[in-house]
């Protein structure tokens, strides 16, 4: 009797476990069933970052959704705005792409991260689709390379690129007695202008350079690398194929950060460490003339367009743009970095074919022009770049497009995101006065050696 009873209970508990195991099994099997019917009507999930008050992408995707659903009866497009700041967006996206249950069908990937996510096996190569796509020839060659991995396959369709430079407020410059047509030649020129502003216009933040962990990649790229690539050093030595450590340029760049945050030429470190700093600069500090110089991207005027978060038609007369100079004016004399975003399909997407159709809709000439214009992108399609509407879309378009001739791309290898995290950690340590630039640079060197291996590093010039 008792043995029977035991058996029954054992069976019951085994069943219980089996049931949970089953339910897991059955859910993981769904994608197989889903992908087989992908040619027909499908439910496509598209994920992008929604942070701060900006609505350009939201409105653009809403338009594309309507267009796609009308063209493909029965299909539905679900827009998944991932509400998260810079670093959190990537984390959430990566977690979603890990499981077929949560993987979106189309994702918006930053080019700096795409190699890392390709190495992780999150993304699907698009070559089969691209080879049959008549529009691919319209893309510029550099743009085609943006999402090409070391294996030679292409994993993303770029929707634009960007360049970076100094934005400055001409009215504030005039008040401070600085030239309205400002052409700084060295870092010292930039610093002395900032010092003049601080002295003449109390209450105005002289200069913003993104810095520290909360702003994530914006700190590393708009902030630090715009400085570093103006020195004689770089992050990565292309000839030796090694990461650079112990370089003077790295320390000098950190010193620049120390100078502006230490002398009060920048926002208070506390303000700068607000994760909303990016949208604050675009929607408050610049439009309210509370910030004189901003080292920022080509796209920030999208905030001030009619469709933007803070319409400000006067921006094109109030603000000027000038190239960021190199440290001592040597080299090409000016520096810019380029990045950009791509549309990609996760490897675990349930409807890759339908997802590709959606990407094609996102990238029709009409839609690409609309996004390049509203989103203040630098066009990557030749037909968009030639479009009169795009060319005249903003007074700054020509300036930033011309910077393409000096622009540099990040060493977007799989290790880059980790290295970038070490850069922003070093920046934050310096801007808050926690470490000296030398000590922060030393910590960075050690961390990079740990990330890529000591044999893959080389010392600077």
């Amino acid at each position: 009797m008792s043995r029977k009873r035991f058996k029954v209970a054992a069976l019951a508990s085994a069943l219980l476990l089996a049931v949970t195991a089953c339910s897991q099994g059955s859910t993981t099997k769904q994608p197989d069933a889903g992908s087989s019917q992908s040619a027909g009507p499908a439910h496509i999930k598209i994920a992008y970052q929604q942070w701060g008050p900006g609505t350009v992408m939201k409105n653009f995707l809403a338009g594309v959704k309507t267009e796609y659903e009308a063209a493909n009866p029965g299909s539905t497009v679900e827009i998944l705005p991932i509400v998260a700041s810079e670093n959190d967006y990537y984390t959430k996206l990566q977690l979603m792409m890990r499981s077929p249950n949560t993987a979106p069908d189309v994702v918006y990937e930053d080019t700096f991260l795409i190699n890392s996510d390709i190495t992780a096996g999150y993304l699907k190569p698009l070559d089969d689709y691209i080879n049959k796509w008549d529009q691919w020839s319209q893309f510029q060659d550099t743009a085609k390379g943006a999402a090409k991995a070391l294996d030679g396959k292409t994993y993303g369709v770029p929707d634009g690129t960007d360049t970076r430079a100094l934005w400055y407020n001409k009215q504030l410059f005039a008040k401070a007695g600085l030239p309205e047509d400002w052409q700084p030649k060295t870092w010292d020129d930039v610093l002395s202008a900032a010092r003049t502003i601080k002295q003449k216009l109390p209450g105005v933040i002289p200069m913003n350079v993104y810095s520290g962990k909360p702003m994530g990649e914006a700190s590393a790229m708009q902030g630090f690398e715009m400085l570093l690539y103006g020195t004689k050093d770089t992050l990565y030595n292309n000839d030796q194929q090694k990461w650079v450590v112990g370089s003077q340029g790295f320390k000098d760049s950190l010193n620049f950060i120390k100078t502006i945050y230490g002398e009060g030429l920048a926002p208070s470190p506390k303000q700068a460490l607000d994760p909303n700093m990016g949208s604050k600069v675009g929607t408050e500090l610049l439009p309210q003339s509370k910030l004189a110089i901003d080292l920022d991207g080509s796209w920030i005027y999208s905030n001030w367009q009619k469709t933007g978060a803070k319409p400000w038609p006067q921006w094109s007369t109030v603000l000027g743009q000038t190239a960021m100079p190199t440290q001592d004016g040597s080299g090409k004399g000016k520096v810019s970095l380029s990045g950009g975003w791509t549309w990609a399909i996760p490897a675990k997407s349930k409807n890759p074919d339908a997802a590709w159709n959606l990407i094609k809709t996102l990238q029709t000439q009409k839609n690409a022009t609309k996004y390049a214009t509203d989103g203040a992108q630098i066009a990557v399609r030749k037909d968009v770049a030639d479009d009169a509407g795009y060319k005249n879309s903003s007074k700054s378009t020509k300036f930033f497009t011309d910077l393409v001739s000096v622009t540099v791309y990040r060493p977007a290898f799989a290790e880059y995101p980790k290295v970038s995290n070490e850069i922003i950690t070093a920046m934050e340590a310096v801007m808050t006065g926690q470490s000296s630039p030398d000590k922060a640079a030393k910590n960075y060197d050690e961390a990079v050696e740990g990330i890529v291996g000591k044999d893959k590093t080389t010392s600077g010039q």
Binding site: D88, Q94, D117, G121, Y122, K270, L273, E415, P417, A429
Partner: protein, 313 residues
Amino acid sequence: MTTTVAPTASTPAPSGKTSGRSGKPRAANLIRMLPLSPAIGLMLVFLAGPILYCVYAAFTNMALTGTGAANVKFVGVDNFRKAFGSGAFTNAIWLTLVFTLISAIIGQNTLGLGLALLMRKSTKLVRNFVGTAVIGAWVLPEVVAAYLLSAFFNDDGTLNVMLHAVGLPGQDWLYAAPIIAVSLANIWRGTAFSMLVYSAALSEIPKEIEESAEMDGAGGWRRLAFVTLPMITRAIMTNLMLITLQTLSVFGLIFAMTRGGPGTKSQTLPLYMYEQAFSFSQIGYGTAIALVMLAIGAVFSLIYLRGLNSEAA
């Protein structure tokens, strides 16, 4: 009579015949285990499972992106070597110890004891009022408490307004002394727990003992040191153990107040772990740090348990 009845009564009524006859202890044990088996099964799957997985992950290069995401490799003790060689990690350990010492062992513990002692002597009205206020802070959800406190410590927050009102200079607490600010916040939030534990322990002390000590001429402080405290040593040790373990793992409060910053000035181990695992995608390294945290908690527990045992002996 009673002794013979007891064994039959203790066997389960329906199966009384068989188990009583067989007398096989193993079978009887198995039957007793039966009702527990679903619970044990669930615990194994949902409690032991993740812990074992965590131990496994700590020895791998698991990551959310890059190579560690595609093929997870066993890397031995690399994660631990990296941790102990890193300045950020030692900084985090140091801050964790400071935070635990200030906010739990000194702050919550003594303040809780003090409140419990004072409330014993006070009128019912005062007791109710203080009790409600202190427990109110404890009952508040963590994020709400953290928000209130960051408003309190903010540059133009309540604390500085009060300091200025009495002519004292204020300072930007969250920026200049973040670890002190979050420690004070944790004291504010956690004192109620110690107070409740000590109130219960103090009410267990027989009145006669204290009265006789008073008759023998022992003053207030001597009574406290030689009578009251020795009688609640067990409660003190238990309380210290619980609040230490709670404080070691405080995350939400600090994250909401300072995010571990500025720089890494308030980055205790849980925040460092979160940053490495989720902001910087290094899951393997993050779980290794979690294991180190577990070890630190275990060391504290051992110390307190030894204190408990030596008291009992």
